[in-house]
Symmetry: C2
Subunit: 342 residues, 2 copies
Amino acid sequence: MPPTMKDVAREAGVSTATVSYVLNDKPDSISEETRARVLSAVARLGYTRNITAQNLRQQRTRLIGFAWSEKPRDHPNAILDNFAYYLTRAAAEIGLRILTFTYPENDPIPVYADLVRTRRVDAFVVADTKPDDERIRFLIDSGFPFVAFGRSTPGWAYNWVDTDSRAGVAAAVDHLLALGHERIAMIAWPESSLSGNYRIEGYRLALERAGIAVNPRHLVRTVHSEQNGREAFAALWALPAHERPTAIVAVSDLLAIGVINGAREHGLRIGADLSVVGFDDEPMSQYVHPALTTLAQPLPAIADEVIALLDRVLIGVTDVTQHLVAPPLIVRASTGPAPVTA
Amino acid sequence: MPPTMKDVAREAGVSTATVSYVLNDKPDSISEETRARVLSAVARLGYTRNITAQNLRQQRTRLIGFAWSEKPRDHPNAILDNFAYYLTRAAAEIGLRILTFTYPENDPIPVYADLVRTRRVDAFVVADTKPDDERIRFLIDSGFPFVAFGRSTPGWAYNWVDTDSRAGVAAAVDHLLALGHERIAMIAWPESSLSGNYRIEGYRLALERAGIAVNPRHLVRTVHSEQNGREAFAALWALPAHERPTAIVAVSDLLAIGVINGAREHGLRIGADLSVVGFDDEPMSQYVHPALTTLAQPLPAIADEVIALLDRVLIGVTDVTQHLVAPPLIVRASTGPAPVTA
DNA sequence: TTGTAGGCGTTATCAT
DNA sequence: ATGATAACGCCTACAA
């Protein structure tokens, strides 16, 4: 129904090959006059190439697969959702589109494999990575192009871009040290979480740099939830007075808000009696009370980097690039000078 | 490189037509024996059909376009992002994939038109609709298939599913009435916002049903932002004592949180001195203090409905369906009994 | 500089 | 019940 190249060729009185050459800007081969005739025919007919035909011919789709895990969405987790937006926007800049899909948390491979076998996409952007990530292993093994947002097992050779959690948390701790805090605690995830561990590294690093020994009781590991943030706070607050932290860094805004909510129940003034830092900069974190100091995920930058790498990969470049982007520290009201020791 | 139908045909000793018949389950035409031979050849070669070729042949893509506006993402607006997830999941159930893209707020048509002309997608799901929405008009005019999440100009004949804001707000007001509140204020968006107006309708409806006259000073219109929520609260609180509201319903969680933050500065206890209701159930709203009573966007249900309609549209059904889904009221700590009049 | 023609991998029509 | 074969719309040797 819509015009095809054949229609344009007839209209312009040339062959379809000529039309194709004009449309693809084949270097010095078409006379100015012919080119003009073709272009005017294209305009007259309102012709646009059928991308499916182009794709079949060129053996590609210009589509990049991006997936969400099907885990329950009861926690705020704006990061991945936001990333999808930035990724979509960045991809468009180089003529790529994002095809979204979802996968079961415990069995991700079939849907990835299907997309590969049917040649539905040219490549993937893998996010929400974990150590020993099956998807990454599968893609490496099958030699299918992809770039990841996030690290997996250290040593695996694949292209990734990730938030520099270590540097981020170190900056947060430096900020607290500068405010005079000395008893700084950290609430992290279980040991199986790679990014949680990188964040702990940043914590240790900054303290060591300042010549402060890490108090093992100041490091609490717990599962991601607001309730667990409250409980972690309670545990820290139950320490003997001389060990009680004056500041707490959490690996996520959600845990930080749990801490704040727990501290409120104890009558503490956040930003004065206790300083709290989160991680992620969830959209609402600027509006909670008090506004949360946190490390912002640099999503637009990461999306741009991922797409840049993808572009190279699709061209056929094979050397591996791994890159960290530092999250900016957003200082708000939840951190303040260390309280004067009683 | 990967096996084609021709390879399978050779392997099974049949024609490509036969392979195609088997794969497409053509009714009673293939002998059991041939079918088995073909299937075993398919398995042996690990063959999967090339979807691009299939698409070219069948003149379709099995792709649905879904877009975000490129407006700045400084507010929490989890709704659209979340919807993208649920839509993706629902689409997969009927073999459709979502292709995402972004469009400039003030000039959306070119990117939609391009996707149409290149036959990149079979249909669109249009979200974030507004009155007199250009995109909807364009799609109606061009006869291109789509379903919308959200209403536009009343009277336009197209398929949509939307949150029943009117019923939602009415339920919120009923909840407040049952708690003994009589001076209930509403903070809404400017008149240009259709959904804001539907929410006001629900507000009026519930009050009228209860025989309470609407005090015009209890209806404040303002632009979506936390700061404006604070200011709207301040304006309401500046009313003479006998007109001061004991409860405020906001058109969004963001405005509601602004109200809460404003009220805190005035020393009010939310849920006691003042009850507050939001709308959307942003992911963080359950964790702010006090936890926010709000109306939850029924996104999974809407996504399912949208996909169901889309399925009909793609089959060629032309009658228009328009459907509202009621948002459940989530009662939390920000609403409580009306304060005893001093 | 331009045209001819083959092929990308399917599906569908028409024979047999 | 199965097989030839012609599209689907485009790109690209190769020829002219």
